[in-house]
């Protein structure tokens, strides 16, 4: 369906994005050369621990990072071939809303408590549509009702008059989803859409999101640290660690053959329904961004760190059409022998997460 819409030009392309934050102690080098590509119609997951830069990357796409303290010293972000970072305010306004919209992590914080749901929702519709067609107040109201009905909320008339505090967490999240989809965006960024909710309600929300996205053929970036949700919702996954993309693969491929030691550690740390105890997880914690470790940023926590990891930053190695990993363990495993790797043999024997335990 989406194929005729720009085969060649990706929907979003991020090239070598760096984001720094100036703070009292110096400069936090949060994003360190992020590369990201997605085609139109794709559902992409973005996973990683808290503080890995997932939300920062997405906020950079929408240009809603507070600048200062944030700075973008390097990098390009293309939305359908146009560099977002070089856009003027009115073009940017077109991209936000109609082009890209975002569901923020905490629905309670995303809604303004002093305005009614109706005021906020109608403002969104008004601003995103009034460029082409001047809608009357009545039409905007009708659209607001329609968008609440779309997210399976009963009694939309009453909801539009109520304030966020009067709604439950699940209802607030649905209002946020309704608001994000009301503008008919091409790309929806969902930042942890289920975290603050209960399992059964989270399941409801995700199913709803999947259905709406399917109907409208919207592209989605789903940010989460719950790996199970990624597995059930996305086509392709990016794994992020400390401001770098470390692995990208088709979802089924990633879950059956995680390659990067970080991904394997994450997978292994998830408690399984099959029982058998919990693994210890990944030792250590996210590095200090003021003074991040040289080379691969994961090397202080990596059980398979080698000398080269402490000195050089790994590039993406393409292992197959749908699997790339930024780790020296896989150096030359495709172009076998083309580099002077000598005894650096790639681990290919058993890539089950369980090998982590043995290490």
């Amino acid at each position: 369906m989406s194929c005729e819409r720009s085969e060649a030009i990706p929907l979003i392309e991020i090239k070598n994005l760096h984001v720094h934050f100036s703070v009292y102690g110096g400069r936090l080098k949060v994003l360190d050369g992020v590369d990201f590509v997605m085609r139109s119609g794709e559902k992409v997951g973005l996973v990683g621990e808290t503080g890995c830069g997932k939300t920062t990357t997405m906020k950079a796409i929408l240009r809603v990072l507070p600048m200062p303290p944030a700075r973008i010293p390097q990098g390009e972000i293309y939305f359908k071939g146009r560099d977002i970072l070089k856009m003027n305010a009115s073009d940017l306004q077109q991209v936000r809303g109609r082009g890209i919209s975002m569901i923020f992590q905490d629905p309670t914080a995303a809604l303004n408590p002093v305005f009614s749901v109706g005021q906020q929702l109608e403002a969104v519709i008004h601003h995103s549509t009034n460029r082409e067609s001047k809608l009357s107040r009545q039409e905007i109201h009708q659209q607001a009702i329609a968008s609440l009905q779309e997210v399976a909320l009963a009694d939309p008339e009453r909801l539009l008059r109520s304030y966020p505090v009067q709604l439950s967490g699940g209802m607030r999240q649905r209002v946020c989803i309704g608001m994000a989809l009301a503008t008919g965006p091409e790309l929806l960024i969902a930042d942890e859409p289920g975290t603050s909710l209960d399992v059964t309600i989270q399941d409801q929300i995700l199913r709803l999101l999947r259905k709406l996205v399917e109907e409208k053929n919207t592209s989605v970036i789903l940010i989460t640290h719950t790996l199970g949700i990624v597995r059930e919702t996305t086509d392709r996954v990016y794994v992020m660690y400390a401001g770098n993309m470390v692995e990208v693969a088709a979802t089924t491929e990633l879950f059956s053959h995680p390659l990067h030691p970080y991904t394997r550690g994450l997978m292994d740390a998830v408690p399984r329904l099959t029982g058998g105890g919990v693994s210890d997880g990944i030792p250590g914690r996210i590095p200090n961004y003021l003074n991040p470790p040289p080379g691969c940023r994961f090397h202080p926590r990596c059980p398979q760190a080698m000398d080269i990891c402490r000195q050089e930053k790994p590039y993406f190695y393409k292992l197959s059409d749908n699997h790339e990993v930024a780790c020296f363990l896989y150096q030359g495993s495709k172009e076998q022998g083309s580099k002077e790797q000598g005894n650096l043999r790639p681990v290919t024997c058993d890539l089950r997460p369980a090998t982590w335990r043995a290490l």
Partner: protein
């Protein structure tokens, strides 16, 4: 046969949140816990699962004495925890400790780790261990703090740090050390890892399991993560709107859930592998919101969302029935009521 260490008998905790009616004579109450009965056995990890607002934490807080129950009893080793109107004796407080959900707010940011762990030692006047080897009492206190830090696998120099200098996992380890300072026999773990990343969760869980074996602790483990529960608890109770709806051995529970709510809960867990997918019951789509605890529906509190609702469900509140050995469920579908 293991003995019960903590027994809840028809525990109720209602909160008055307002008044209504002419002259404000009628009270509006939230029935946070409404008739909960179960027993935790000596040395086991008893899992208490439920969605937010189901009353799990109220059960925990009532147990440690933060609230007084509206009705019902909690007894610890056969002794009622709420006898008369007296404050709980220190010796009893020492035996029951708690680790809170968010270590960021349960540790005082103005106190050093040494002070945080030292306070319970001081209050409970724990005798110095090992026996006094020179040095005054002060020296011993420090030694004990170091021992406690080592117990939770933190280096001794951490005692001079302050909570905000530590990561989330390390803070939770300090909270565990503080709970163990009084040498309790029963520890309540109120979502000890839900504020932490999955990469750190495992370390905390394994630490808790090791400490349990080492000191013969009994745990009441509260969580909403069923996959985690599968790996730590020996028995599980599911709570919904202040009531327990199913109790079973963990393995049996995951193999054979009876209550429609439990089945719904299990079928909505997001999992990461095919093998796990096979263990989940058939997908039951949940509909409707969790009702407000102020207006609890009549009859069974789950009937508004229940896929196998019958006429009786909206009228009569079901009672707990045993369907198999040690597996009890509160639902009209089972038992000949």
């Amino acid at each position: 046969m293991t003995t019960d260490i903590l027994t809840f008998t028809d525990l109720k905790k209602h909160f008055v949140i307002g008044h209504k009616g002419i002259l404000n004579r009628e009270t509006v109450t939230v029935k946070a816990v409404d008739g909960v009965s179960f027993a935790v056995r000596e040395g086991e990890t008893f899992g208490l699962v439920g969605e937010s607002g189901s009353g799990k934490s109220t059960v925990a807080y009532t147990t440690i004495g933060m609230y007084r129950p509206t009705a019902g009893t909690i007894s610890f080793r056969g002794r009622n925890l709420f006898e008369g109107n007296k404050a709980r004796p220190l010796a009893l407080k020492k035996d029951i400790q708690i680790v809170y959900q968010d270590p960021g707010s349960s540790l005082n940011p103005r106190r050093s780790i040494k002070e945080i762990i030292g306070l319970p030692l001081q209050i409970h006047r724990r005798p110095p261990t090992p026996p006094n080897v020179g040095g005054g009492r002060r020296g011993n206190r420090l030694e004990q703090v170091v021992q406690l830090l080592e117990m939770v696998e933190l280096p001794p120099d951490y005692m001079h740090k302050y909570p905000q200098m530590l990561g989330g996992g390390e803070k939770q380890m300090v909270a565990i050390a503080r709970a163990l300072a009084t040498e309790p026999s029963f520890v309540i773990l109120d979502e000890p890892t839900s504020a932490l990343d999955v990469s750190i969760q495992g370390k905390i869980i394994n630490l808790l399991i090791r400490l349990q074996n080492e000191f013969h602790l009994s745990y009441l483990f509260i969580t909403h993560d069923l996959s985690l529960m599968r790996n730590v608890a020996s028995r599980v109770a599911i709570m919904y709107m202040g009531k327990v709806c199913e109790i079973a051995e963990t393995a049996e529970f995951f193999r054979n859930p009876y209550h429609p709510y439990t089945q719904m809960l299990l079928s909505s867990i997001p999992v990461v592998s095919e093998e796990e997918e096979k263990l989940k019951p058939q997908k039951i789509t949940s509909t409707g919101e969790i009702p407000s605890p102020v207006n609890v529906p009549s009859g069974c509190s789950f009937h508004l969302r229940c896929p196998s609702k019958m006429d009786i469900c909206s009228e009569v509140d079901p009672v707990m029935v045993e369907v198999e050995g040690g597996h009890t469920v509160r639902c009209h579908l089972y038992g000949d009521q």
